[in-house]
Symmetry: C2
Subunit: 247 residues, 2 copies
DNA sequence: AGGCTCTCACTGTGATCACACTCTTTCTTC
DNA sequence: GAAGAAAGAGTGTGATCACAGTGAGAGCCT
């Protein structure tokens, strides 16, 4: 059974006649919840219940249960010993880790994308960048963040990596609630898309190393903006106490 | 239990008293299935059904459903348009990607681990290495692979990264079935733990860069062994046809 | 005999009910 | 009056039933 001797194993694989592989309710719920996480609908520390979510989405608790379980596995949600589930709070250490992994993985994806991307795709990404910039200048942080996210994912999509893509999405999923909380309040006031412009140029030049560098700088800039958030001002002092018992 | 009269707000956050966060049946099923994936119980291409798994595990289909859903999200399992689920077959491209990401992430984890690891932990890892080597020399590939896995994860555990660890586990989960299939048959006959020894030395020297290099070489060696598998001999020629329409 | 169709077992999915457990609130008692 | 106990609502979890869709096999017709 390891390999099907009959060559035409493809039942209906490539053709994919029905355009709805995502037809199940659970899949819709899962996508909807993921969107909400990335859109900042959910706040760090917020408590969610199955029945409430089900009621909100107009479905039975059943599909929600499974979708939520998936989100827990992805680290977008956590379940306390009390059996109640909440969107995880962000700590400084965790944020640093997340951004470090993002740098590594999105750097890889950018390199791969740079090698496979078409001019048409580059133009699309540029359009998205302008939308983000416009939204930012008009003070619509929500839309600016959404466009920034779309900018990154459209880029990584060009890498055609079925391995990297889900992982990167998972990382954004984990950082999503906190990023919206942080940027909607104070931080990010002095954001410029300079590294996005650098990236676009590198893509056009077909220079993967430069593209990677641009993305890494972009993430670093995000990191700087996030780490000065007042959210960590108190946390830093507080963490100072429990730092010793580490080693 | 009844002492919450004077307690103001704090739910019960840091304490986390109950020592059973893994008590649920679904959690047990999930762990059991993950173990089976990593142990080579499931073969690439194998078809699984909820009810069969439930019967095997002696539980109702309910917890299995959720556990399986999580495994699908992690990429350890895939669901075809036919609605039937199978453990994904491995392609050469996918394997290359997986190993590339492993190199990056496990390199990071190794660096971090090298900075935080204790001598006691190093000794434990060395013991595991010897077990793996002994099993290998006695021809017990199954045990050797299991010990090799334990070697890596004990190392990464020392990094104390709640971000990296789940991702790395997911990568091993995806590669697990194929690795066992490949190594149990022919490949891997000329494996030596030389890079494991290099790693141990680097850990003792407290040299993160060297440790990272050792792990990367170890993964590269695994990659070489896997990519010459007869499994890809035919696949490579076959893939040659559909390579063009890429760009 | 060969090709077609119908049937039936079986799949994952969704809904509903039942249960153990936690937390809150209210009532009882010192 | 205040502390403690008991009842209540609400939680996630598990089991069971119902259902649409798929796939294979038997049965029929040409």
């Amino acid at each position: 059974m390891t390999r099907s001797a009959t060559a035409p194993v493809a039942r209906k694989e490539a053709p994919a006649g029905p355009p709805t592989p995502v037809g199940s309710v659970e899949e819709q719920v899962y996508r909807e919840l993921r969107d909400r996480f990335m859109s900042g609908v959910f706040l760090p520390g917020q408590v969610l219940t199955l029945r409430n979510l089900a009621a909100d989405l107009g479905v039975s608790p059943m599909p929600v249960r499974q979708a939520v379980r998936c989100l827990i596995v992805e680290g977008a949600l956590e379940i306390l010993p009390n059996r109640i589930m909440q969107v995880p709070r962000m700590t400084r250490d965790r944020l640093v880790e997340l951004l470090g992994v993002r740098r590594a993985l999105e750097g890889m994806a950018t390199e791969a994308a740079c090698r496979a991307i078409t001019l048409k795709q580059i133009s699309a990404i540029e359009k998205i960048h302008h939308s983000s910039r416009r939204a930012f200048e008009s003070g619509d942080m929500r839309r600016s963040l959404a466009m920034n996210q779309r900018f990154h994912f459209t880029l990584y999509e060009a890498a055609h990596s079925t391995v990297l893509m889900p992982i990167i999405q998972g990382l954004w999923l984990q950082a999503g609630p906190f990023m919206h909380l942080a940027f909607s309040s104070t931080a990010g006031a002095h954001w410029d898309g300079v590294h996005h412009v650098e990236l676009l140029q590198a893509l056009r030049d077909g220079d993967p190393a430069a593209a990677r560098q641009a993305i890494e700088r972009d993430i670093n800039k995000t990191a700087e903006a996030l780490l000065v958030t007042p959210h960590f001002a108190a946390a830093r002092a507080e963490a100072h106490d429990r730092r010793l018992p580490k080693a």
